[in-house]
């Protein structure tokens, strides 16, 4: 080999290794996390009395109108509290599961972070979340949280987040479309399947159901599991009970309805389902809400129907996936923590709370008794316009349940089961790989058991 050829070869190998490095390198190991704090700690000196306490709030509500409403509330709080400056930073739900742990490891975590039950369970073992038992007790006495909303955030001897709003699925349809097809009401899965078949026409799919390996599909699969009586996914000892006849029935019912869904639904998230309904391509969808887009498209409020999710014949009452959202206090600085408490007290005052909930009209549902009566909530123009639907959603939300948080026994593996979208993966075995529901339930059980064992 000539010298030139050797040098050329060496350069090519170096370039290749560099490219490999660019593609393959993963984030570095982080130092061991401290144990969860048992009580408020002041690990940093409090700022001087004259310096304002700065709080950073991360939330995942990206639409402009939500950010704008948040900012209005923040400005109002900052104006009323000269010693505190709250600022918001918008994240998104797809990234936050990786971004937040990285931020914690790097020491850049926000002071306040919006959360869901499984996301809290991911961060709490990292020692990044501060217990808020005292504030939640105080807020419960002042505003009366609905009974089930604190439970998903209460484990390891503490409450780890302050519940802020609820989001639940309902079945959305157009009354005129139902009337034209001669459909009156749907309560059971048999009626649901018959309706979907009847509503499927040349340019209309009877039912829009997702099959993506994504959180929306997890949620909808769980809607079916709840309405089959399979809402408990853990036994009391923490072992998984996914593989049972009720789950099999849920997967079977899902697949029977799925045949009336658009062929691109394996790539759907929430937005595509909503768009399908708005375009009148889907006659029915399971969604948190469709009101904003339906209204923006010039829909008639009187024609928009919402009902509880149908259930199996042997189940007496409809249920729904309920995703209570909450706020975690992340800061360990005592002055910041007191400022964060002040901000959360401000947010839960009924008038402010109503304004917060209507950041996305008819999506964020109240979790406190006095918040549910808030005039700012009920007088919001969109809520006034769609009052019937909002009342229907609130009615449905009374039976909301979140996977892995249906009892007081909460197991950390639910964070991984949720993070890896295992319900959606099991469903894909049925609707894409064409396995039987029983085989898919067995496969899903094995997948979950591996996670539990790890």
């Amino acid at each position: 080999m000539s010298k030139r050829l050797f040098v050329f070869t060496l350069l090519i190998v170096l370039a290749a290794v560099t490219l490999v490095g660019c593609g393959g390198a993963q984030p570095t190991a982080a130092p061991a996390a401290p144990p969860p704090a048992a009580a408020p700690q002041a690990t940093q000196p409090a700022p001087a009395a004259s310096a304002p306490v700065k709080l950073t709030l991360w939330h995942m509500e990206q639409p402009d109108h939500r950010v704008k409403r948040f900012q209005e509330l923040i400005d109002k709080f900052n104006a009323a509290n000269p010693g505190i400056v709250v600022s918001q930073e918008v994240q998104n739900w797809n990234d936050i599961y990786t971004k937040a742990p990285a931020a914690v490891a790097a020491g850049n975590a926000p002071d306040l972070l919006f959360t869901t039950p499984d996301f809290t369970l991911l961060l709490q073992p990292l020692g990044a979340v501060q217990p808020v038992d005292d504030l939640v007790t105080e807020m419960d006495q002042a505003h009366h949280f609905y009974p089930a909303v604190i439970t998903p955030f209460k484990y390891s001897g503490h409450v780890w987040a302050v519940p802020i709003w609820n989001m639940t699925h309902s079945l959305w349809y157009r009354k005129s479309v139902f009337k034209a097809a001669g459909i009156d009401k749907i309560e059971t899965w048999d009626e649901w399947q018959a309706a979907a078949k009847k509503l499927t026409a040349e340019k209309q799919y009877g039912m829009g159901l997702p099959a993506n390996k994504q959180m929306y599909t997890d949620q909808v699969v769980y809607d079916f599991m709840i309405n089959s009586g399979a809402e408990e996914i853990y036994n009391k000892d923490g072992s998984v009970r996914f593989d049972n006849p009720k789950t099999v029935a849920a997967l079977d019912a899902y697949s029977k309805l799925y045949q009336y869904s658009p062929p691109d639904s394996p790539s759907w998230t929430w937005g595509e389902a909503e768009a399908c309904f708005d375009a009148k391509t889907c006659a029915m969808v399971l969604q948190f809400t469709v009101i904003s887009t339906y209204d923006a498209a010039g829909g008639d409020p009187a024609d928009l129907g919402v009902m509880a999710i149908p259930h199996a014949a042997d189940v007496t009452q409809s249920g729904t996936m309920g995703a209570p959202n909450a706020v975690m206090v992340m800061t360990k600085d005592d002055a910041k923590k007191q400022a964060a408490y002040k901000f959360l007290r401000f947010i839960l005052e009924p008038d402010n709370y109503g304004s917060l909930l209507t950041a996305e009209p008819a999506l964020f549902l109240p979790l406190t008794e006095d918040g549910a009566k808030s005039t700012t909530f009920w007088n919001d123009p969109m809520t006034v316009k769609y009052r019937g639907q909002v009342e229907g959603m609130i009615g449905v939300s009374q039976n909301g349940k979140m996977y892995g948080f249906t009892s007081t026994n909460i197991f950390p593996s639910i964070a991984k089961i949720s993070g890896e979208n295992m319900f959606a993966q099991a469903l894909q075995k049925v609707v894409i790989d064409k396995q039987t529901p029983a085989a898919a339930a067995t496969w899903g059980q094995q997948l979950m058991m591996q996670t539990v064992e790890q």
């Binding site: 190998v13 593609g23 061991a32 996390a33 990786t98 742990p101 993506n212 790539s267």
Partner: protein, 313 residues
């Protein structure tokens, strides 16, 4: 012989204050920032990834202990890894073939003299300039079943009875993603191939014409050998780029449906950040890195290099 010469010459060349020494120092100073950048941005993460692969770190931000080769054993026994490797091979070969053919066709057309040639040369590169996330959104619209233009045209023309869910089945999702990625990247190859074509002296084509060569013979005997240096580099670098493509696949399909488009980078991401198995993902990264280094060495060993005089004959 040279050993006896070097000690005598070195003091003269490296004398402090001499022109050669000053130039050498200047060169080092100029190259130092780049070397430091490379060391911090590439070498450090690489070393960290290897270190991480020998631990049992799950979630980023947590600690881990040394577990030796356990993660490597787990990954090598994992069906998901081998399936992803198989898909990566299909992905790389299919993208390479499609992009090469498309690039050659486009470059041959753009090499011709016609009105609007300059505009066409700029226009062809647009799809490469557009950010990946925009490409993903555009193609999801184009191929969607609710108002997507492709399904609309196929339905209107009576080609299909009902809309096709391009991202709805395992085969169509992966094939669609390959086509979209090739569409995005072939302009880059076109520009490289076109530049290579323009470096081939026109006299070669004139001589071939005098000898009565057909268009195909000119392409096979003049153009292709003349492009050999370009093809060598593109074959190597393009393959490495292609294997490492993550954004297009993840944005289009997320690796689905039912893992049908989960190639190695997606597998690694999902393992690390959805499955919270950071160390196992690091082990998979190291294995992929070794596979690619082996590919590079094999490529250099078996493919004719631009310095191989035989290739020019």
């Amino acid at each position: 012989m040279s050993v006896s010469v070097l000690p005598a010459r070195r003091p003269a060349r490296w004398r402090l204050g001499s022109r050669q020494t000053n130039e050498a120092i200047l060169g080092l100073v100029l190259v130092a920032p780049l070397m430091l950048w490379l060391a911090s941005c590439i070498l450090y993460p690489l070393v960290s990834a290897v270190n991480l692969s020998f631990q049992d770190v799950g979630i980023i931000g947590t600690g881990g202990s040394f577990v030796g080769l356990d993660n490597y054993a787990f990954i090598l026994k994992s069906g998901g890894f081998w399936a992803a490797l198989g898909r990566s091979v299909i992905w790389t070969v299919a993208n390479g073939a499609l992009q090469t053919v498309a690039a050659f066709v486009a470059a041959l057309i753009l090499k011709q003299h016609f009105r609007g040639q300059s505009i066409a040369r700029v226009w062809v590169i647009v799809s490469w300039i557009v950010p990946t996330v925009v490409v993903a959104i555009i193609w999801r619209w184009i191929l969607g079943t609710s108002g997507g233009i492709v399904n609309y045209l196929l339905l209107t023309l009576g080609v299909i009875p009902s809309p096709i869910g391009f991202f709805g089945t395992s085969n169509t999702a992966f094939a669609s993603t390959i086509l979209i990625n090739s569409w995005r990247w072939f302009p880059f190859m076109t520009v490289i191939v076109l530049a290579g074509m323009q470096s081939i002296p026109e006299e070669f084509y004139e001589a071939a014409s005098v000898d009565g060569a057909s268009s195909w013979q000119k392409f096979a005997n003049v153009t292709l050998p003349g492009l050999q240096p370009v093809l060598f580099v593109m074959g190597l670098i393009g393959t490495l780029w292609s294997v490492n493509v993550f954004d297009t696949i993840f944005l289009m399909t997320g690796g689905g449906p039912a893992s049908a488009s989960t190639t190695l980078p997606v597998f690694i991401y999902v393992t690390a950040f959805k499955g919270y198995q950071l160390s196992r993902a690091a082990a998979a990264s190291v294995i992929v890195g070794l596979i690619l280094v082996a590919f590079v060495l094999a490529f250099l060993r078996w493919m004719p290099s631009p310095t191989d005089e035989e290739a020019y004959r």
